[in-house]
């Protein structure tokens, strides 16, 4: 674990935290424009967070320790993942600390804590949100791990740095059926895990259709800020995974400042493109019923499964 590696990891964490709310702001602007509205400025999510952070902590009665530490665990797990995923460089010190499996389970850790917090207040909505969130998290898990399986079959490793290096060395791999299938599968899971349409609606205020928002109904002030920031960060982490696992070009393989700067530019462009596609697609798609979500996830599982079969048989 070299000092530069640690520096790269810290840099990645700080940059993704800084960028995440802006990206979400951009998605909202795109959506508003396509719907014929002006929309709030891109930096609005940051303003909201700042406002929330200045407020007093209010905690509902009946809640305990779990309710208080859940936002911390959620944000810390997402930030740790942001340090592992090769956003800027493959030389992050955390690369050997955890692989793709560790990332999946770290994100699940955050989900679990938030679900427990949803149960902690003892309201009906919190429980409903938790129950639905865990349902979706549980049935999204096979897709995630089987997609990782597909990625690691062709590389021989589930390590992010190794996968990225392998794709950089064989650029034709990015267009192979296996990696395209795995990409589509992970894209569907990204939408499910980050609570976007058609699985969940991040801007809804109708309780019965909510998943994520129902779960965090009792949070306010600085705790809400942490939860929101963590949600933004998870979106960026998933998009960053999609971007750099399948299209790693521009990523730095060293820790030199100039390369890192170029990599930051490249990854920003990729994130903006992916986020813009999602935001634009959301305008045209309706949210599906909760009990149709398994069908969506089954389809994504099939894609991941095909990716494994194809990656083994067609290479």
């Amino acid at each position: 674990m070299s000092p530069t590696g640690i520096a790269v990891a810290v840099l990645q964490v700080i940059l993704t935290i800084a960028v995440a709310p802006l990206l979400v702001g951009m998605m909202r602007v795109i959506r508003a424009r396509l719907e014929g509205r002006v929309g709030a400025p891109i930096r609005q999510p940051w303003r909201d967070l700042r406002k929330l952070l200045r407020k007093q902590r209010m905690v509902s009665q009946n809640t305990g320790v779990v309710f208080s530490i859940a936002p911390l665990v959620l944000l810390a797990s997402a930030a740790l993942v942001a340090g592992i995923v090769p956003f800027l460089s493959t030389t992050s010190a955390l690369d050997q600390v955890g692989d793709l499996f560790a990332i999946v389970y770290l994100l699940l850790l955050g989900t679990v804590f938030l679900s427990l917090a949803g149960l902690d207040a003892g309201t009906a909505f919190g429980g409903m949100g938790s129950s639905r969130e865990m349902t979706i998290a549980a049935i999204a898990e096979p897709t995630l791990l089987v997609a990782i399986f597909a990625l690691s079959v062709s590389t021989g490793s589930s390590n992010l740095g190794a996968i990225v290096a392998d794709t950089l060395a064989n650029p034709s791999k990015a267009a192979s059926p296996a990696s395209m299938l795995a990409f589509s599968a992970l894209a569907v899971v990204t939408i499910a895990e980050t609570g976007r349409i058609p699985v969940d609606n991040p801007s809804t205020h109708l309780e019965l259709t909510m998943i994520h928002e129902a779960m965090i109904l009792e949070y306010s002030g600085p705790d809400l800020a942490l939860v929101e920031l963590a949600a933004h960060l998870r979106l960026v982490v998933f998009l960053g995974l999609l971007a750099n696992l399948f299209f790693p070009w521009g990523i730095a393989t060293t820790a030199q400042p100039l390369h890192l700067l170029a990599a930051a530019g490249a990854v920003t462009v990729k994130l903006i493109v992916l986020a813009a596609v999602i935001a634009a697609a959301e305008v045209f798609i309706a949210k599906v019923r909760l009990f149709r979500v398994p069908e969506l996830l089954a389809a994504s599982f099939v894609l991941a499964f095909l990716a494994v079969t194809v990656s083994f048989f067609l290479v």
Partner: protein, 670 residues
């Protein structure tokens, strides 16, 4: 050293049994607990000595039984299972002191308990067929007595004990058959002789022996379809006994399978592994689905034992599939994953059963829909149960994650492979392990959330108190083991290497290497550092805390009522229950589980539009029990009825039978 420790264990067990027989009720419990803990500690010390040194221990007691002697052979494979036993038995014994004080303190129970601990410890140490069967039967009988411990005020316990007795003896029959064939072939009953003689078995005989041992040991491990006794018997035993049964005894099924299949028989064709893998996949899915929908806490834990044994079987089966195609290093990784899971499972399942015992003794109920809000009243139980829940859900940075990671790595790196069955099975296996992991997370969010969080759902839960000090010691000790295993799994690398060296038919080499705090695998380019992951999480949490909650404003917290949809009073009836929490997943898996749901709506007398009460009942039938066991039982009963007609109590008829038999014998042996 090893011999001395084992001798101490035997003496301590004997002392505990004597104490249980002669001392008065109050001091009896204390002395039995202390001596049992001592016995388990000594056993653990012996296991540790074998696992860290390179020596094995052998002893011979040729004249212990009239027909054959007992041989003790303590190698690394035995030691890892004895270590798992010690991990759960020492805290369980201490916990048992407090638990039995107001519960099962009768002489029978207090004699059977140390006997169970000692026999579970010694089953893996047996080095001969006779020894294995003797300790196995001791273990089965003592645990049967303990399942019946609370039978006088619990009707369920009796039916559970019947199922348990029947299944465990059918399994013993299969095991004895398998071992007798082996011993007959070898001309001697020591494992050394059997191992040498197994090479001469024809492949068909070897496969029959393997299948018999799979049935026998699989029933003990509680894997599908031989699991029916497990969700009945484990919940009914006193909780520290449940911990021992679920954490350690069940794992001996795996021990027996590996010992007979891949050590004594020396391994076999790929399909052996494939069968074990298939059973593992079915058990993992079946176990976790039933655990998810169970609202009885101890039953939930028992089903989750089936799931975990399924995962262990997946690892063993995968190893059994890799080894014949020459991929020995990957087989070693898969075996190491299984063995680590056995150790981890002992720690977290023991912990969870002890926690469930605390809840049971504090509230008198195991029904999740009647619990709630215990985190405030039982902080120690809550904190330790939380650690166990996170560990069993395989979440980092706890110990369950390390074994899950190893298992996934061994499955994922099996491709490309030459064997078609491997190529077909592995994607399915990864998918099942993943789904199991996700559902386990949901299950234990449900278990922890509805037990400890929010408001109590019944009066009993509202009046609960923290358990006595001895019980807390047991809980804290086991959660300490979980954390230690989580942070320093690297300490287990050389023991796991010795284990894989001991299983000749399966593995060789060093499955896991350590590079400082990193875990690295042989032949696989992948690394993990649980310690650094935990450190990273802790550092980031502290950083966030430092940035966000620094002001005075954030240190003063205002308590406000939860939002109640416009209602001013929030009651416990508005909470989500365990049943409602699992309902979406129950609907997703409707076609697999076929739950029977009854909804009764009572209308008001005056008008049909006013609903007075709604009753919701859901029952999930065990498909195997319904389709497989009940028809079998019906057949058995018909045979029994037939037999009753022959045996009608008339002395003349019995004499006539004797006469007919005598004539037959004379004619046949003429």
């Amino acid at each position: 050293m090893v011999g001395a420790a084992l001798a101490v264990a035997a003496v301590a067990a004997a002392a505990a049994m004597i104490a249980g027989a002669v001392l008065p009720a109050r001091s009896r419990v204390v002395w039995v607990g202390v001596c049992t803990a001592l016995c388990a500690t000594a056993g653990g010390a012996a296991a540790t000595a074998v696992l860290t040194g390179s020596s094995t221990f052998q002893a011979n007691f040729p004249n212990l039984f009239p027909l054959g002697g007992v041989r003790i052979e303590f190698d690394a494979l035995s030691a890892i299972f004895s270590l798992a036993t010690a991990i759960v038995a020492v805290p369980a014994a201490i916990y048992g002191i407090g638990y039995s004080a107001h519960g099962p303190s009768s002489r029978t129970v207090q004699i059977a308990w140390p006997l169970l601990v000692w026999s579970v410890m010694m089953v893996p140490a047996a080095g001969s067929v006779t020894g294995l069967i003797a300790f196995w039967e001791l273990m089965a009988l003592s645990s049967l007595v303990l399942v019946l411990a609370e039978h006088h005020h619990n009707v369920e316990a009796r039916s559970a004990a019947q199922w348990y007795a029947a299944m465990t003896h059918l399994s013993l029959l299969a095991i004895v058959l398998a071992l007798v064939v082996l011993a007959h072939q070898a001309g001697g009953d020591s494992f050394t002789a059997v191992r040498a003689g197994a090479g001469d078995l024809s492949p068909a005989t070897a496969s029959v022996v393997f299948l018999l041992s799979l049935v026998g040991f699989g029933a003990k491990a509680g894997v599908v379809p031989l699991h029916v006794w497990l969700p009945r018997a484990h919940p009914e035993a006193p909780s520290h006994v449940s911990a021992m049964m679920s954490g350690a005894m069940v794992a001996l099924g795996v021990y027996g399978l590996v010992r007979v299949g891949w050590d004594l028989l020396g391994g076999g064709p790929t399909w052996w592994g494939a069968v074990v893998l298939a059973i593992g996949l079915a058990s993992a899915m079946f176990g976790i689905l039933h655990a998810l929908l169970s609202s009885d806490l101890k039953r939930l834990l028992a089903y989750s034992t089936t799931e975990n044994m399924g995962l262990v079987f997946i690892g063993v089966g995968a190893a059994g599939m890799f080894a014949p195609s020459g991929n020995r290093s990957l087989a070693s990784v898969a075996l190491a994953a299984s063995m680590l899971l056995v150790i981890n499972h002992a720690a977290f399942k023991g912990l969870l059963f002890l926690g469930a015992g605390s809840i049971l003794s504090a509230t008198g109920t195991r029904d999740l829909d009647r619990l709630g809000g215990l985190a405030r009243r039982m902080p120690v139980t809550a904190a330790t149960f939380a650690i166990g829940s996170l560990a069993i859900a395989a979440l980092p940075p706890l110990n369950g994650f390390v074994s899950e990671w190893l298992l996934l790595q061994s499955l994922v790196h099996s491709l490309p492979s030459n064997a078609a069955v491997v190529a077909v099975a592995m994607p399915v296996a990864v998918a099942v392990v993943a789904l199991t992991g996700g559902l386990a997370a949901a299950t234990f969010v449900k278990a922890f959330g509805t037990t400890f969080l929010a408001m109590p759902r019944s009066v009993e839960a509202g009046q609960a108190h923290e358990s006595p000090r001895t019980m807390q010691v047991g809980l804290v000790a086991l959660s300490g083991v979980c954390v230690a295993l989580a942070l320093a799994p690297t300490a287990l690398t050389s023991p796991l290497r010795r284990v894989s060296a001991a299983v000749g038919g399966l593995a060789d080499g060093a499955p896991i290497r350590t590079n400082g705090v990193y875990l690295q695998l042989s032949g696989i380019q992948a690394g993990l550092s649980p310690l650094l992951l935990a450190t990273g999480l802790a550092v980031l949490m502290i950083a966030v805390l430092a940035v966000v909650r620094r002001g005075r404003l954030h240190r003063t917290v205002r308590d406000i009522p939860a939002w109640g949809c416009g209602r001013t009073v929030q009651t416990a009836r508005m909470e989500y229950t365990a049943t409602s929490f699992a309902e979406p997943l129950q609907r997703v898996f409707d076609d697999v589980l076929h739950p029977e749901i009854d909804i009764d709506v009572d209308h008001h007398v005056e008008s049909r539009h006013y609903v007075q009460a709604i009753r919701y009942r859901m029952k999930i039938r065990d498909g195997f029990e319904h389709r497989l066991y009940l028809p079998l039982l019906a057949v058995a009963r018909r045979w029994g009825d037939g037999a009753r007609r022959i045996q009608n109590g008339s002395i003349h008829r019995y004499l006539a039978y004797s006469l007919i038999t005598l004539i037959t014998v004379l004619v046949v042996s003429r």
